[in-house]
């Protein structure tokens, strides 16, 4: 080995603790970038791949009960690749503690499931009077055990649990995956046993991917027409054509945030490299002088120290790449279970490795080049006579002169103060490093504060301590009277919800909207108003809309009239105001 490289190795060895720290810091930065980029890409890939594999519906039409004949008619339309019926039943499940827990029972189609397929993970698919569950919520039953169900009409049914599945469509419609109840699945033939008519009320359709937007809209109109011609009313038609996995938004949001923190940590590593190199080169100025005196050119010296720094990056990269791939895989498995997707196996993500490699090569070099260039330019004479302390820097600036004029301070304090300001570039760098570290710390707390603020925003519209949902409408007075028989109940407030369809000027369907009916003097809502006002006593056909309307239809203003179809009727409302909900594209009024 050439002696110059022996010197580089020896320099490494003699400053081992410092350089291990620098390498670990770089490694930490590369690891964070690797796990974030790799985890983000693999998670989204797995989510998208898995979601596409279940053949998700492009169009979802809620209508009145129908059977296979309507499905056959829809299937025969040009542009439709598959059509299927679905039904969802609301029921309750008896837990091990003897409590009733809400469940949604999805009815599997008679034929083999084509759209919104569930993936069997364990056991087998159900037969008549049997049931299976989705894994995303913990239940107290094992496969083979008998499950007790109470239907909406109050009948108790015992059904054998035959398997566990993953249903990736949970949360597709209202982003409610995290608050969704337990999902269960039964066969079409089980419906009568659950006191349900053998029919579907949801029509799921997939379309040819090559359809243009115009063709797609025309097909939607044809579908609506076909359903209406069959004598059924179309309650809602939901466009899901370009929808991703329902939980992919969470991954993007969290990844963006983590990416920011990752890049901040990489920057911090860069500063550490700069500081380490500046300190090393201050120590090695004499060596540089000797090397120049015996024939080393500036380029040779720059190359030596750049290689020196390259070793940091290389070591950090070699360790960070496999570690971050392993961690990204673990993260994928963890998220797969919690965000309802099938995580793929361990793999290296080329883009993530490329980003890590580029950072590992460029960042340390960029951070170290300034002190290296500065040191390599020093004259032989200056370098050989150097003590490693720059003596000529302090005393030139106005600040230095002011520090020199401080009176009454003890000598040790003055030395400390002057030392602080002796090397101003180093001071600035230290301050930047501390500020960045502080920023990371504060950012972490900000994230927590944001999440809390988000929760607060949501709860501002649901301030009741207990919410009771009913499967049909009841008279308010009747429920209020019953509730108030419980001594601890302080106040009862009714609320109703209905799904409506926002209409355009020509009466065409635009968005599916959830409309809540609430008393104007509601004590369970503290609205955050963006424009206009909240509902007041005496309002007739007044409506307040959430921010999704304002962002998707910016022309809408307070005082405008908007039209909806609600249960077969077209209803006009005057906009009283706009309120902020949770910042999503979920339409609420």
């Amino acid at each position: 080995m050439r002696p110059r490289w022996r010197k580089v190795i020896a320099d490494w060895r003699s400053n081992l603790p410092r350089f291990i720290l620098v390498t670990l810091s770089l490694m930490g930065g590369l690891f964070s970038i690797g796990i974030i980029a790799g985890g983000y890409i693999t998670t989204l890939d797995d989510m998208q791949g898995g979601f596409s594999a279940i053949n998700p519906s492009d169009i979802r039409i809620r209508t009145e009960n129908f059977d296979q004949s309507l499905i056959d008619q829809v299937s025969s339309l040009d542009g439709v690749t598959a059509a299927e019926g679905e039904k969802m039943i609301f029921a309750q499940l008896l837990t091990a503690e003897g409590k009733w827990q809400d469940i949604i029972i999805r009815v599997l189609p008679e034929e083999e499931q084509q759209i919104n397929q569930v993936e069997l993970l364990e056991g087998r698919l159900p037969q008549e009077e049997e049931i299976i569950f989705d894994i995303h919520r913990a239940i107290d039953y094992q496969i083979g055990e008998e499950v007790t169900i109470q239907t909406a009409a109050g009948q108790i049914r015992k059904m054998q649990l035959t398997g566990m599945v993953r249903d990736q469509t949970i949360g597709t419609l209202s982003g409610s995956y995290f608050i969704a109840p337990v999902y269960a699945y039964v066969t079409y033939d089980t419906l009568p046993w659950l006191n349900q008519e053998k029919s579907y009320d949801l029509l799921l359709v997939t379309v040819e991917p090559e359809l243009s937007n115009q063709e797609y809209q025309a097909l939607k109109d044809d579908l609506t027409g076909l359903v209406e011609q069959s004598g059924r009313y179309v309650f809602t038609i939901t466009d899901l054509r370009y929808d991703n996995h329902p939980n992919s938004g969470y991954v993007s949001a969290v990844s963006n945030l983590l990416a920011l923190l990752g890049f901040l940590s990489v920057f911090l590593s860069g500063f550490l490299v700069y500081n380490a190199m500046a300190a090393l080169l201050a120590q090695q100025l004499q060596h540089i002088g000797i090397l120049k005196a015996i024939g080393a050119r500036q380029n040779s010296i720059i190359k030596m120290y750049m290689v020196f720094i390259f070793v940091f990056g290389l070591l950090a990269l070699v360790v960070a790449v496999p570690l971050s791939a392993l961690a990204a895989n673990s993260l994928g498995q963890f998220l797969g279970l919690r965000l309802n997707f099938n995580a793929g196996g361990l793999r290296l993500v080329p883009l993530a490795v490329m980003i890590q490699t580029v950072i590992a090569i460029i960042l340390p070099q960029a951070a170290g080049i300034v002190p290296i260039l500065k040191a390599s330019k020093v004259s032989v004479q200056e370098a050989i006579n150097s003590t490693g302390i720059q003596t000529d820097e302090f005393g030139k600036s106005r600040l230095d002169r002011r520090l020199e004029r401080i009176k009454g301070a003890g000598r040790p304090l003055l030395i400390s103060l002057r030392n602080t300001f002796r090397r101003k570039s180093r001071l600035v760098l230290t301050l930047i490093t501390l500020s960045l570290a502080g920023a990371v710390f504060i950012a972490t707390f900000n994230v927590r504060a944001s999440v809390e603020a988000y929760i607060e925003k949501v709860t501002a519209y649901i301030l009741a301590d207990v919410n009771l949902d009913f499967d049909r409408n009841y008279r308010i007075n009747e429920i209020e009277a019953i509730a108030k028989t419980i001594p601890e109940v302080a106040m009862v407030e009714p609320r109703s919800a209905v799904t409506a369809q926002l209409l355009n000027a020509d009466g065409g369907a635009l968005e599916t909207v959830e409309i809540w009916g609430t008393p104007p003097e509601s004590l369970t809502i503290k609205p955050i108003l963006l424009d206009g006002r909240w509902l007041v006593k005496g309002d007739r056909n007044a409506i307040v809309l959430n921010e999704a309307f304002a962002s998707f239809y910016p022309d809408l203003k307070v005082g405008d009239t908007v039209s909806f179809t609600i249960r077969h009727r077209e209803v006009d409302f005057v906009i009283a105001g706009f309120f902020q909900f949770i910042g999503s594209d979920f339409f609420l009024a």
Partner: protein
């Protein structure tokens, strides 16, 4: 003041300083370290540069090595204006043509004596890489350090370190050796050994320019250059040694 000593009269100088001046500018004003120096050094000379502290000895030597730059005047080494060279070419030129020996040896403490000697060959890409270790060992043997070749500088005596520094200065077989008080930190016996090496090198045809405070050495020098307040005050000839230099084989010319 000019000094001009040519042992063979019709021979061209290896090093020539023409109207050389150096002024340092400090907060307290301009400080002339060298004033109108005109000197010539010839092959095979062993020249001592003598003077009190602050007389300009180191500045003069630094002008030859290119470590410092003149305010006025020129330094020619084998006809080459060395201060006209760009920094990088000057470093390479210095590595090939000059061996520099410092007062404090300036060996790299993290490398063995052999590796220290190998460094100039490495940086100047002299000799075949496979030949370099053997050459380094031969040079260390020449200064009596063959048994300590693989020792670190910190584990040998100061005299041995200075001998290793001389071996390093000879690594690229330079025609000129410049030494800045090489015996300043050595005991008499070790200093004697260093002088012996230099005298032998001069006898082989190399030009040795050495800053010294040691009056005992003058007998072994071809001549001395005495400096006072940046001026040459009395060139002293030692004709006996100069005569012996005349009969010595000359090493190769300098590399431009």
């Amino acid at each position: 003041m000019t000094t001009d000593f040519d042992p063979r009269n019709n021979r061209s100088p290896l090093i020539e300083m023409k109207a050389l001046a150096k002024t340092y500018y400090t907060i307290s004003g301009a400080y002339p370290a060298l004033k109108d120096i005109n000197l010539k050094f010839y092959r095979g000379e062993f020249v001592g540069v003598i003077g009190k502290s602050g007389s300009g000895k180191s500045t003069l030597v630094n002008m030859i090595t290119g470590i410092d730059h003149p305010t006025a005047g020129k330094v020619y080494v084998d006809g080459l204006d060395i201060h006209a060279l760009p920094e990088s070419r000057q470093a390479r030129w210095r590595g090939k043509n000059l061996g520099v020996v410092f007062q404090f040896f300036q060996l790299l403490p993290m490398l063995t004596l052999t590796e220290n000697v190998l460094l100039p060959m490495d940086f100047c890409n002299m000799y075949d890489p496979a030949e370099r270790p053997a050459r380094a060992l031969a040079l260390l043997k020449m200064v009596g350090l063959e048994q300590l070749a693989h020792k670190m500088p910190g584990s040998v005596s100061v005299g041995q370190q200075q001998s290793a520094a001389i071996a390093r200065a000879l690594a690229n077989d330079p025609p000129i050796i410049v030494a800045d008080e090489p015996t300043g930190n050595l005991d008499l016996k070790t200093a004697e050994s260093v002088y012996h090496h230099f005298a032998r090198l001069a006898a082989e045809g190399r030009t040795i320019i050495m800053i010294t405070h040691d009056p005992e050495i003058e007998d072994r020098l071809t001549r001395t250059v005495r400096l006072k307040d940046g001026e040459v005050i009395s060139p002293v000839k030692n004709l006996a040694i100069a005569a012996s230099a005349e009969t010595t084989n000359q090493p190769g010319g300098t590399d431009r």
